[in-house]
């Protein structure tokens, strides 16, 4: 499989650090709904280490092109979150990360599962980020529409940084999904088994508030987002945005039989690999 066209080296060398000296809207009053929305975006943008803890225990960490990109990506996300702190006048430490049993053991479970799913997982992880990017872009677009001139200009600046990251994830996901039917099947399954955006399951109340406000302002946002997601190979018809808007903070598809189904799939996968 050939490497993608995205220039990872150039990206990493040029990764955007602190935005504070360029921001023009710092100190301007923000309407409370916009403040809430930007605070929510800040949490999603800063949750890099939790996601990396799940991704790096899998074969994705073997892919040097992806890990090189992620080193610049995590750096940029840190400073994007910092810029939102500046605009919303957040000071002090961010809210403590909730570390429940599920979060504590998630990397362990993922590391075990990685040995079964193997080489299909990088496609899943890239698709996860591509889907997340579509949803965050929709929320950020809504924020820009609500913001005053200087704040809107600052948010547009942040959006451009996110757009460059999205170009990598879209290209990489497209390439990896196109080359493997197994990766496409696994991606469909895993993308619909989780809540969106990434981190929404730990933040259901704010997710509901933000997605409800988004839908109230623009009833067609979910359809447009789903159309973008459907452009990725094998991901048509998942309805991730539409279903997330209908049940914010909850997995896209829910079934009480999910654990049983998941166990059955794991056993079948193990049998296939050993057989």
């Amino acid at each position: 499989m050939s490497a993608g066209a995205f220039d990872v080296l150039a990206y990493s060398a040029d990764a955007q650090g602190s935005h504070r000296s360029e921001l023009t809207g710092v100190g301007l009053p923000l309407p409370e709904p916009l403040r809430t929305e930007l605070g929510y975006l800040r949490s999603r943008l800063s949750g890099t280490t939790a996601w990396l803890s799940l991704v790096l225990v899998t074969p994705t960490h073997k892919n040097a092109r992806i890990t090189a990109f992620l080193s610049g990506w995590a750096y940029e996300r840190y400073w994007l979150a910092d810029a939102l702190d500046a605009l919303t006048a957040e000071v002090g430490a961010p809210p403590a990360v909730r570390v429940g049993l599920r979060a504590r053991f998630a990397p362990l479970v993922e590391a075990v599962l990685a040995n079964l799913h193997g080489s299909a997982l990088p496609a899943v992880h890239m698709a996860e980020r591509a889907v997340d990017g579509v949803l965050l872009d929709a929320i950020l677009g809504h924020s820009i529409g609500r913001a005053s001139g200087p704040v809107a200009a600052d948010l547009e600046r942040l959006r451009r940084v996110l757009a460059r990251q999205q170009a990598f994830f879209t290209e990489e996901a497209g390439r990896l999904l196109a080359s493997s039917a197994r990766a496409r099947r696994l991606s469909r399954r895993r993308l619909t088994a989780r809540a969106w955006p990434i981190g929404a399951d730990d933040d259901p109340v704010r997710t509901a508030a933000v997605l409800t406000a988004l839908s109230a302002a623009d009833a067609a946002w979910a359809r447009r987002a789903d159309d973008r997601i459907a452009e990725l190979p094998g991901l048509a018809g998942l309805g991730i945005a539409r279903r997330s808007a209908a049940n914010p903070g909850r997995p896209v598809l829910r079934t009480t039989l999910r654990p049983v189904v998941a166990l059955g799939r794991l056993v079948a996968s193990a049998v296939r690999r050993t057989g």
């Binding site: 060398a13 790096l56 073997k62 995590a74 430490a93 590391a111």
Partner: protein
């Protein structure tokens, strides 16, 4: 030693070498032995993501300062790898993404089991496990910085020396973070001191061991740390680690060298 994480993050940059005349290597190339050591250092810097992974599966990443540090540290180390790769490239040695990937693939089952082992230990031991990682990181960063210092002394070169000094300078900031964190956590908990002492005395090895081939580890350690000057660096590192609370009397680098048969036990 105080460490301000916000200042560290604000000052974090990808190391640059555009102002250095790497073409000097064309007329004054590095010897084979040094290139082999540089290749090792380059690979180890690129493998930082593997160390990052081992920390992320433990409670370490839920600490805000640690999380910020790891974000900046991972990027800085990645660029150390790129800088060394640029030197190797002038000598006709290419280090591409696919080769780094191939090296990571070679680690095999150990690599698959490591995160499971780390995660289990992290969850069993809890927050005290962060002290192990911070002390381990301090030892790793000190040994890396010592390695760069030794190479500067062994191989004076108008293009290599300033580059290695820049890398060593960033490693010094990493040492400050790890040491500050380790000291604070070791002082606060007898259990952290006991577990850290046990882990470092039993399992610590030179940076790159466990990831790089054994013969390459031996080559680099012999190249950099043999002779009286090299052994002085070994003793210095051991003395610095032994100053951490609960680690008095340890000589982890000397013991690791003795286990490898590089110095008498």
């Amino acid at each position: 030693m105080a460490f301000d994480i916000d200042t560290f993050a604000g000052d974090s940059v990808a190391i640059g070498w555009g102002d250095l005349d790497l073409d000097a290597f064309r007329t004054d190339p590095l010897p084979e032995r040094t290139l082999r050591t540089l290749r090792y250092m380059c690979d180890v810097e690129f493998h930082t993501v593997c160390y990052l992974r081992d920390m992320l599966v433990t409670p370490s990443h839920t600490d805000g300062d640690v999380s910020t540090f790891m974000t900046m540290w991972n990027r800085e180390e990645y660029w150390h790898g790129e800088a060394l790769a640029a030197v190797l490239r002038v000598h006709g040695i290419t280090v591409e993404f696919d080769q780094v990937k191939a090296n990571r693939m070679k680690v095999g089952w150990k690599d698959r089991l490591d995160p499971i082992k780390q995660s289990l230990l992290g969850n069993i031991v809890g927050k005290d496990f962060i002290a192990v990682h911070m002390s381990w990181g301090a030892a790793n960063e000190r040994s890396a910085a010592a390695g760069y210092r030794r190479l500067i002394a062994l191989e004076p070169h108008p293009a290599l020396t300033p580059l290695l000094k820049r890398i060593a300078q960033q490693e010094t900031r990493h040492i400050a973070f790890y040491t500050t964190q380790a000291r604070k956590r070791l002082e606060a908990s007898g259990r952290a001191r006991a577990i850290t002492r046990f882990a470092l005395s039993r399992f610590w090895g030179p940076v790159g061991s466990g990831v790089m081939p054994e013969e390459e580890v031996d080559h680099v350690m012999t190249h950099l740390f043999s002779g009286e000057d090299g052994l002085r660096e070994v003793r210095k590192l051991d003395e610095q680690i032994a100053q951490l609370p609960g680690l008095e009397g340890l000589a982890i680098m000397r013991d690791a060298f003795a286990r490898r048969g590089l110095i008498p036990a």
